[in-house]
């Protein structure tokens, strides 16, 4: 079966720690997306699973066996690379056929598999072309066909859509999701694009500086980011964070910022009191904020960006911290320069220890 597990995996490149104490379990037939900014170690994790890098410490399990000492070819995986890694001197047909040929499969058997892989990805008419004669999207499909032709347990994909233009990326994204459903195989997919992660993943594994920040379904990651990093990384426009200290106003604990006092719910108050945090980052999703004449935070409207389906209102708090508010097109758009007040439901606030980045409360 196509489970993948990394247990206590670490990897150094010279003095740089690319992956540290990494624990991850990928279920059979799951679409897991490793998401993180460039240089966070996500590609290294993928290469460790593939066997292209050896971990310094830890165990890699694919199916039900530890594969640390197993050659890449014997791990029953297929990998799709960012630049496709098609063999330029071979035709599309030979590219798809090559992995089978390398494994010594007899020709008649191979021909059938190549034909069905090519058909699955709409490449039947392109089999005699060379990669250089194909568009980016077609090359991507050849790379996918080459991966699926062997029917491996696990597919590893390293930013496979990043070289496609925006429109084709959306289309290929859908095709990939459909492909995964059809193949019912495990996908481990690396990307720095949070939209890809949010739309494709059964579960997201968000990485930062070689470590896992959170592993959860996309909706959960969005609604309850486990750390300040995840909160700021997921969401477009990103979550607003305002930094302050625990302070009492009229006897009730809230977060005092130089821009105003932020009230808390009873549960949040308890969580803040229970934590040792001295500085607290309060996170507010742009769509959870409203602009009006009442509310705890006074602000000035700096810029209004109209995106057609919505507006992004960029406000400046009295202490110059910037806050983005997302409003629908049917809502009243404030004038630039207007003095307003920002309101929010306290239940939508996210609290983090500003020093450690850890989430406070649920």
């Amino acid at each position: 079966m196509g489970q993948v597990a990394l247990r206590g995996v670490s990897k150094h490149f010279g003095a740089v720690e690319a992956v540290r104490d990494f624990d991850l379990e990928v279920e059979d037939q799951e679409f897991l997306v490793l998401l993180g900014p460039s240089g966070c170690g996500k590609s290294t994790v993928l290469r460790i699973i593939a066997g292209l890098e050896d971990p310094d410490r830890g165990t890699v399990v694919i199916g039900d066996r530890a594969v640390n000492d197993v050659e890449p070819k014997d791990r029953d995986i297929a990998m799709v690379f960012q630049n496709y890694a098609l063999y330029p001197h071979m035709t599309v047909g030979r590219n798809i056929d090559f992995p089978l040929k390398c494994r010594g499969m007899p020709k008649p058997e191979r021909a059938g598999l190549v034909a069905s892989a090519a058909e699955a990805l709409g490449l039947t008419t392109l089999l005699d072309r060379r990669p250089a004669q194909l568009s980016g999207g077609q090359r991507q499909r050849v790379a996918l066909a080459r991966a699926i032709v062997r029917r491996p347990q696990v597919f590893l994909m390293d930013e496979p859509l990043s070289n496609l233009d925006a429109k084709l990326r959306v289309q290929t994204r859908t095709e990939l999701i459909e492909l995964q459903r059809r193949l019912t195989t495990t996908f481990v997919y690396v990307t720095h694009d949070q939209i890809e992660g949010m739309t494709m993943a059964d579960r997201l594994a968000v990485m930062n500086e070689g470590a896992l920040e959170q592993v959860a379904p996309p909706a959960e990651v969005y609604a309850h980011p486990a750390s300040l990093f995840v909160a700021r990384f997921i969401g477009s426009p990103p979550m607003n964070t305002v930094t302050g200290t625990p302070a009492r106003l009229d006897g009730e604990l809230g977060i005092g910022t130089s821009g105003g006092q932020i009230p808390l719910s009873p549960a949040q108050r308890q969580a803040v009191e229970a934590s040792a945090a001295t500085t607290i980052a309060v996170g507010m999703r742009p769509e959870r904020l409203t602009i009006g004449t009442t509310g705890p935070l006074p602000a000035t409207v700096a810029v209004v960006e109209s995106l057609g389906a919505e507006h992004h209102v960029i406000c400046r708090l009295t202490d110059d911290q910037e806050v983005i508010v997302r409003i629908g097109t049917d809502a009243a758009v404030p004038e630039e320069g207007a003095a307003v007040r920002l309101d929010f439901g306290v239940e939508h606030l996210h609290l983090f220890d500003a020093t450690t980045g850890d989430r406070i409360g649920r």
Binding site: L52, M79, N83, A85, Y87, H89, P99
Partner: protein, 314 residues
């Protein structure tokens, strides 16, 4: 020596040629200067014309010696001595070629040259590909140091190693044999360097993909790396061919008779034996040159691609 052309006799011809070349260069420079003025279209045209003029001049300079060799091979000896020199054979004497071939034993010499050259080219390619691949894709102790030593051999001129090599060859009992002509040139630092660069130009992802497909180093080298490095291999093959084919001093020293002597020595012997019929020597030179010319025509695309390989990522 009546037939030996003196510098003074050549002078008028050379002066004319020099004037012609200088004139064209001056026109090209003037056009270049003019190209800075006038409408954009005119400027572009002037630039183009001056560029072509310059290329024509360079082309003439490069091709003229070859042309005059062919012409001289078809003239009678007294016509060659004529001043001003004849630039076109009015009554071509084709018999010179037959004479050169038979009396100069060019067949034997050319055969030797081909045996030696082909062996050197094949050997150089095999060793360069293997060494270049090792430097590009394998990890082994002292890799950098060994590579620098390889490069250092490129800085040592042949003359420095000449006597050591000669002693080695003689002590191995290879004097006057194909082995003496071939073995010292089977591996070059330049070849290893060129192939290393070509292999380093291949995307790293190809090696990764091949690993997942189950290709070991040998199969990756033969199935993927070598086919993709074809332009560099062709260029290296041509360089090896030319330098092996044009060797003179080494084959002269390590051979003692016609059985192993190569065509360059054959030409020297021909010129000595045909002092009064210098046109036969010229014919011999043309005959020795033809194989190179054909090779150049066939492989010129690869040669240019090899020289510029890696300059532009494609």
């Amino acid at each position: 020596m009546g037939t030996e052309p003196s510098v003074a006799a050549l002078a008028p011809g050379f002066t004319t040629a020099l004037f012609a070349v200088a004139g064209i260069v001056v026109v090209a420079v003037l056009l270049r200067v003019a190209s800075r003025h006038g409408t954009p279209l005119r400027r572009r045209r002037a630039t183009k014309v001056s560029r072509y003029l310059l290329l024509v001049v360079l082309g003439v300079i490069v091709l003229f010696p070859i042309y005059i060799t062919v012409v001289n091979s078809l003239l009678a000896p007294d016509q060659i001595a004529q001043r001003p020199p004849l630039l076109f054979p009015t009554h071509p004497e084709w018999s010179t070629y037959a004479t050169a071939w038979t009396s100069g034993h060019l067949g034997r010499y050319l055969m030797n040259s081909f045996i030696v050259t082909v062996a050197i080219v094949v050997g150089t390619l095999v060793t360069s590909i293997a060494a270049g691949y090792a430097f590009a894709f394998l990890e082994f102790p002292f890799k950098r140091t060994i590579f620098v030593v390889f490069l250092a051999t490129m800085m040592v001129p042949l003359e420095v190693t000449f006597f050591t090599n000669l002693q080695t060859v003689v002590s191995l009992g290879w004097y006057n044999s194909y082995l003496a002509l071939i073995v010292p040139f089977l591996a070059t630092g330049f070849g290893a360097f060129l192939m290393r660069q070509a292999f380093l130009g291949l995307p790293g992802e190809l090696r990764d993909a091949a690993k997942i497909d189950g290709l070991g180093h040998l199969r990756f080298m033969t199935r993927i790396a070598v086919p993709l490095a074809r332009p560099a291999i062709a260029a290296l093959g041509l360089f090896a061919f030319f330098s092996a084919f044009n060797q003179y001093l080494w084959p002269l020293i390590v051979t003692k008779n016609d059985q192993y002597r190569t065509v360059q020595i054959g030409l020297k012997i021909l010129s000595r034996s045909q002092i009064s019929t210098i046109n036969v020597t010229f014919a011999g030179i043309v005959l020795a040159f033809i194989p190179l010319f054909v090779l150049l025509l066939v492989f010129q695309k690869q040669l240019i691609r090899g020289l510029t390989a890696g300059a532009v990522k494609g």
